[in-house]
């Protein structure tokens, strides 16, 4: 699987490259700035890109903007955005185009290499990987979600992170059919049309949460 890495700190860039190569990824480019990233994405069309939010030259949200820009010109280009901090605002921006293949994770998640690589594979396959911290922030205090039972909320959180039914069942020690039942109930309570497709399901849930929360658009 071909990967482009964008990270300005040399040690982390080298570490990520080594980690991904150990898991059989092919790192086609490891760049350190926003403009380079955009060029590399367009040149290599990787199966997945791993992008740090803050990159030179401005050290603001260069990486995030490059990722959104690349996905605008190449819809569905799988990107996993890494950051020292996670914000709902950025998650919403990444999800705004409604396309599949998006990941947004705290940098710390790299420590758990298996889960990190799993998230990367999921995104490359057109799935979603949202950091549990973002999901928790998105879900907390949203009035329409108050109708859900505690167990349903747990299922919803895992679903929003982008996990499959099987993974959710494994985590919560539930049978596949129990998970399906919970999911059907959640969709019923939120008034969403059920779908068998994992990705569309996640996007629907995330769009629903993001759309129903306090809207601060001017």
């Amino acid at each position: 699987m071909r990967v482009v890495i964008a990270e300005d700190v040399y040690l982390l860039r080298a570490g990520l490259t080594r980690l991904l190569e150990a898991y059989g990824f092919e790192v086609v480019a490891a760049v350190e700035s926003g403009p380079e990233l955009l060029a590399a994405l367009i040149e290599h069309r990787p199966d997945v890109a791993v992008v740090d939010v803050r990159l030179p030259p401005t050290f603001t949200d260069e990486g995030l903007r490059a990722a959104i820009e690349a996905r605008r010109t190449h819809p569905g280009l799988p990107v996993v955005v890494l950051s020292q901090h996670v914000q709902q605002l950025y998650a919403r921006e990444l999800l705004a185009d409604g396309g599949a293949g998006v990941g947004y994770l705290l940098k710390d998640r790299v420590f758990n290499d298996e889960q990190f690589v799993d998230a990367l594979r999921r995104v490359a396959a057109g799935g979603t990987a949202m950091d549990p911290d973002v999901v928790a922030k998105l879900i907390s205090g949203r009035p329409p979600l108050a109708k859900l039972s505690p167990r349903e909320r747990e299922v919803l959180e895992l679903m929003a992170e982008g996990r499959s039914n099987a993974a959710i069942g494994q985590r919560l020690f539930l049978s596949d059919s129990a998970v399906s039942k919970h999911i059907a109930s959640i969709f019923g309570k939120l008034g969403l049309a059920a779908s068998d497709d994992d990705n569309r399901r996640v996007l629907a849930v995330l769009a629903h949460i993001a759309g129903n929360s306090s809207d601060s658009r001017p």
Partner: protein, 573 residues
């Protein structure tokens, strides 16, 4: 019948002259019950216009104000002053209500003019009967009706001239204060100082009222001295004298403060000079106008008797109209003269500025130092400690690797967990120093993130086509965050709206919530901290939060926008 009624109206009109004098005096000195009593006469005239002349006239007066309501602490507030009982606030409210009602001043004009105009028309009714009564009714409605058919111009200008006369009357009263001050100054030389202190303080109140009437003139006075503090031996020192009790030193420092302020001298000079100015520019024209109208009406009333040359009437009218025409110019000259002596001088302004800067600098230094201490403590207790623990654990792993690999593995897991915790702690610390979103996206998106994370329904509207200087941005961000935290904790609001805009070199952030109000910067440390934070940048916090809500806070910071990129235009949430 019509003739008798005509005579009655003449008699009613003649009552107006003495009452006009009473009314003017009562208005100048704020005797609201007297003004209300005098109102009876125009009210009777309105009723008669309806019953006798077939011209019903509605009451034109503004409705009486509601009785003052106490604040949350039971005190009554009038123009930034607090009163324990409602009497004085109610009284000031009534004076304000009467003086600001145009109908009051038109009543006064009617009292002056009607004795003549009303007499003429009343006599006309005696001669021609019913039509004369109708003319009288029309005249009464023209002046006393709610809907005035004659142009606002005359009304506005008349009110302006009468207002000027009131200012002139005030300054003449000020002459008395000046004379007493001079006398008290002489008395102070003999050692009796309290009359001077009392007089200077009262004249400051008086002149501040005048400043408020003209508008836009700041107080020039130096800040009041602190209460005297004892020396090491318990005695109090004032210049080269020592006192055992603080009473005399307190009075003396107050005296030196009042007498040593150049603004006091300028005040006294103004008290002496201003009567000249106001009498020439405001009182004399007003008198000329009244005499002019008087001449016109007397001439008309005596046209048949030829006791007075006929041309006095038109000349009188011309003078009165001329006064109305030039009144705003004269008032403008007066308003430009006033700040010459009453506005702070350049050095007074600089002194004030230095004082303010000293204060805000001390605040800034304190805040910074506290912040650094907090960061130092957090690093010391958190990340630093964890790194030491991790180092030790790794050393143990090194030793155990061959002998006890199982324990070594456990230790390694522990170390990894420790790194994760240390990272979280540092993340939180960084967030408290300078939130990453602020650096990455600027003020508006940083506020949006706070809004998204808030349990309240917060709406952010922004018009900020650029970035601010980082220090200003940071101060504004933390101020807004504090305000929103306060709203969550205390306001009981469901919905909050934040408006961010920049115009005329001023960043303005308005935070409005629909909670139960009663926010008081003096009450808690939260808003006080916000005010301090903004003070460093010459920013201000304005709090409007009546008990019962809603609350509106306005933060303003003078600053410039740079053209650095700010939040994208298509951002969600």
């Amino acid at each position: 019948m019509a003739r008798l009624r005509g005579l009655g109206l003449v008699a009613l009109g003649l009552l107006g002259l003495p009452l006009a004098v009473v009314d003017l005096v009562a208005l100048v000195f704020g005797l609201s019950p007297v003004v209300l009593a005098v109102r009876r006469l125009p009210m009777v005239a309105r009723e008669l216009a309806g019953e006798w002349c077939g011209m019903p006239i509605a009451e034109p007066y503004n409705p009486a104000p509601l009785p003052p309501r106490p604040r949350h602490d039971g005190m009554y507030e009038v123009r930034r002053r607090l009163y324990r009982r409602p009497h004085v606030p109610a009284y000031r409210q009534r004076v304000q209500w009467l003086a600001s009602d145009g109908a009051t001043w038109l009543d006064l004009l009617w009292l002056v003019v009607n004795p003549v105009a009303g007499t003429v028309l009343g006599l006309a009714a005696v001669v021609v009967g019913r039509p004369g009564l109708r003319w009288h009714g029309r005249w009464t409605r023209a002046l006393l009706g709610a809907r005035r058919p004659w142009p606002n111009w005359v009304r506005d200008r008349t009110v302006l001239v009468l207002d000027g006369a009131q200012l002139a009357a005030l300054t003449v009263a000020g002459l008395l204060l000046a004379a007493l001050q001079v006398a008290a100054g002489v008395l102070a030389l003999t050692g009796v100082t309290w009359p001077l202190i009392v007089l200077v303080e009262n004249s400051r109140t008086f002149i501040n009222y005048y400043r408020g009437r003209i508008g836009g003139i700041d107080e020039p006075y130096r800040p009041a001295p602190p209460p005297p503090r004892p020396e090491a031996d318990g005695r109090y020192r004032v210049r080269r004298r020592l006192y055992r009790s603080p009473t005399v030193p307190a009075r003396l420092t107050r005296l030196y403060w009042l007498a040593g302020d150049p603004a006091s001298g300028r005040d006294l000079l103004w008290l002496l000079l201003n009567p000249l100015v106001t009498v020439t520019l405001l009182a004399a024209p007003c008198a000329a106008m009244l005499v002019g109208f008087g001449q016109l009406t007397t001439t008309v009333s005596q046209l048949w008797q030829h006791t007075q040359p006929w041309w006095r009437g038109p000349v009188g009218a011309a003078v009165a109209v001329a006064v109305l025409v030039i009144a705003p110019t004269l008032r403008g000259w007066h308003d430009r003269w006033t700040p010459v002596l009453l506005a702070p001088t350049k050095s007074a302004r600089l002194a004030k500025r230095v004082e303010r800067l000293t204060e805000t600098r001390a605040d800034a230094v304190d805040t910074q130092a506290a912040e650094l201490r907090r960061i130092e403590r957090d690093l010391h207790d958190g990340a630093q400690g964890r790194l030491v623990a991790m180092g030790m654990a790794l050393r143990a792993v090194e030793r155990l690797l061959d002998a006890d690999p199982e324990t070594a593995r456990k230790l390694i897991v522990e170390v990894r967990e420790n790194t994760a915790t240390a990272l979280t702690e540092i993340r939180e610390l960084v967030h408290g120093i300078h939130p990453p979103v602020l650096a990455e996206r600027g003020l508006v998106d940083a506020i949006r993130v706070v809004a998204l994370d808030s349990p309240l329904d917060v709406e952010v509207a922004a018009d900020l086509p650029g970035r601010l200087d980082p220090p200003v941005e940071s101060a504004a961000y933390f101020a807004v965050r504090e305000v929103l935290t306060n709203a969550v904790k205390h306001s009981g609001a469901d919905h909050v709206r934040v408006d961010v805009s920049h115009a005329g070199g001023l960043l303005r952030i308005v935070v409005h919530d629909d909670g139960h109000g009663g926010a008081d910067p003096a009450g808690g440390t939260g808003l006080l901290g916000v005010r301090r934070r903004l003070g460093t940048f010459d920013g201000v916090l304005d709090v409007r939060s009546p008990v019962g809500g809603p609350t509106t806070l306005m933060l303003e910071i003078p600053c410039v926008l740079s053209s650095r990129r700010t939040s994208t235009s298509s951002e969600p949430g």
